[in-house]
Symmetry: C2
Subunit: 345 residues, 2 copies
């Protein structure tokens, strides 16, 4: 057991896409847990689009990471020291340890993991992203058999959950993904009825034509997690009483889509507001961290489906803490395939 | 009893604001009711902003009025001939008779009126506009005591219902209205806690400043019935988990806001889409005609409040069918005070 730990901190606020020099690798002594705390060796942590928002010093749905602060992340690991009666050395746990080899947290901020599934499932398919897809679709999307659903980033951990749950409930599911390989994965691994490579279409108009063919009865639910061109393509195809759960806009994150000063994608659409009225749509923004009261229900419903293989998932593993920034930058550009994870041990 | 009737038809599709020559007054023989039909002498009919949308040949939530077709309207009147066992001569009824002195409709398209209230209440406070306000506020706005509500056109039949129901449920209510007289009415007659004259503010930014003072805790519910400058002023003041029931955008109707080709007001806002996400808002477009299953509940709850004077209402009466076009054009510009009605007898 080493007596030091490593973390990646925010060295500078990125202008546009983050670059290596926006991150710093720091080493520090391993902390001693205080009374009620637990020390964890991190085995893997999650990289998610929301972290890009945390790098900007702008009002968003969570406070920014301070300069020289540790980059935030959920991770899974093994308890190596405990001063809480609720955790023992060797326990497998989930916690917000950040981009780090170790973390020391109060016991009430940790969750013990079911060892019958790989620990990394707690980061993706059964973690925040999978929960986001499940909650947004079932609570806000209100899916009905026979309807048509469209979701982008369809091989990612949110989109693949949305597609599989919708398919299981009898909807026609249309994937949007970047590249032929991801489109094939969407259909073969995640059971989408159709898949469209958004890179093959120059603009929203041509993408819309392909979408209209893949969704001949129109679109009832658009699960919005990317924004930009895809949203522009989708809007005119929405059916009356359509629902748009809105959980992210990765296409705009590097352009400051969540800051309060910069314009982005869909807002250039002239007809957004009147479309919502005329088509009597329901648009609901949600931040999943405010809905964890539903997480036990999600786990109870979906964990058995993952265990039995009825829900599939894909992970894209980067190895080693020092590779986290590159993996993160790649993910923001869609270079990952499946849930992006950094594995440490 | 005369043997002819008069109607106002759509002579031409308006470019922008309608003008006199877009309407024509026609005379025709009084129809004989067929089996199952009822002939009604119209006493008063309603003028509503949605009628402007029907004048455009554009995809909207209802079919356009054809050229030379009778302008649509709900009216109240007295049965003068009946070939239905459900209605007798002398009954007071509501039906979609159009801008017309008489109407002949199948009995199943008529509703008998409670004679204990003035018939014109079926056009405003207890008719479509009042129902719109009640349904949008209670079902989609989900008001909670202590919250703040903003509604524009606050002395109109929708806005005044919204404000009074919200006030009764313990919300702080902020009116937006055009002119000092309407602002005084909003507070004195409809009990709003504050009223802002939008004409006193040149742009959205200055209007927003006044709004921020009137709504020091931010805005939880914005009942959207006007669009344009008001919407732009409101959006940045919305609180997290804010709700926007969206039932109309009168400010844009003359500019084709509901057609599929023209840009209007709020869509120029750069941050609409990301605001919905970051503030986790719920935006719900609705067309009240699809929600009449709730109408009996509305009548049961609100009619006694109108009868007892706990819910107030204002009517602006134009006299005579030939004055309907002028009254309609004035209403689109906000020159009416209260529910615009055309009285015939």
């Amino acid at each position: 057991m080493t007596d030091s730990m490593q973390q990646i901190t925010l060295a500078a606020r990125p202008e546009g896409a983050p670059k290596d020099s926006d991150f710093a690798l720091v080493e520090k002594p391993l902390p001693e847990p205080a009374e009620g705390e637990v020390l964890v060796r991190v085995q893997a942590f999650s990289l998610d689009p929301y972290m890009r928002g945390r790098m900007d010093d702008a009002k968003s749905y969570a406070a920014p990471v301070p300069i020289d602060g540790v980059m935030e992340a959920g991770g899974v690991g093994e308890v190596i020291a405990s001063r809480s009666p609720h955790f023992a050395v060797g326990d497998s746990v989930f916690g917000m340890f950040g981009w780090a080899t170790h973390g020391c947290l109060p016991a009430n901020q940790l969750r013990k993991l079911d060892r019958s599934l790989p620990a990394t499932t707690a980061l993706g398919v059964l973690g925040m992203p999978g929960f986001t897809g499940w909650y947004g679709l079932t609570e806000l999307g209100r899916p009905k058999a026979g309807e048509t659903l469209v979701v982008a980033a369809a091989t990612g951990p949110v989109g693949s959950m949305v597609g599989q749950i919708a398919k299981a409930r009898g909807l026609r599911t249309v994937a949007i993904a970047g590249g032929a390989e991801k489109c094939a994965l969407a259909m073969e691994k995640f059971g989408f009825d159709a898949a469209i490579d958004h890179r093959a279409y120059e603009d929203a108009r041509s993408l819309r034509k392909a979408l209209a063919e893949a969704a001949p009865d129109g679109i009832d639910i658009y699960f919005e997690n990317v924004g930009g061109k895809v949203f522009e393509a989708v809007l005119p195809l929405m059916n009356t009483f359509g629902r748009i759960p809105l959980c992210g806009m990765i296409s705009g994150y590097n352009a400051g889509a969540l800051s309060s000063t910069k314009a982005q994608g869909p807002d250039r659409l002239p007809m957004l507001w009147s479309s919502i009225l005329v088509k009597q749509m329901s648009v609901n923004g949600f931040i999943i961290s405010n809905h964890y009261e539903h997480y036990p229900t999600f786990l109870k419903e979906v964990a058995p489906l993952v265990a039995s293989g009825k829900i599939s998932y894909l992970e894209d593993i980067a190895k080693g803490l020092d590779n986290a920034p590159q993996a993160f930058m790649g993910m923001l550009e869609g270079r990952n395939t499946g849930k992006q994870i950094v594995q440490l041990t």
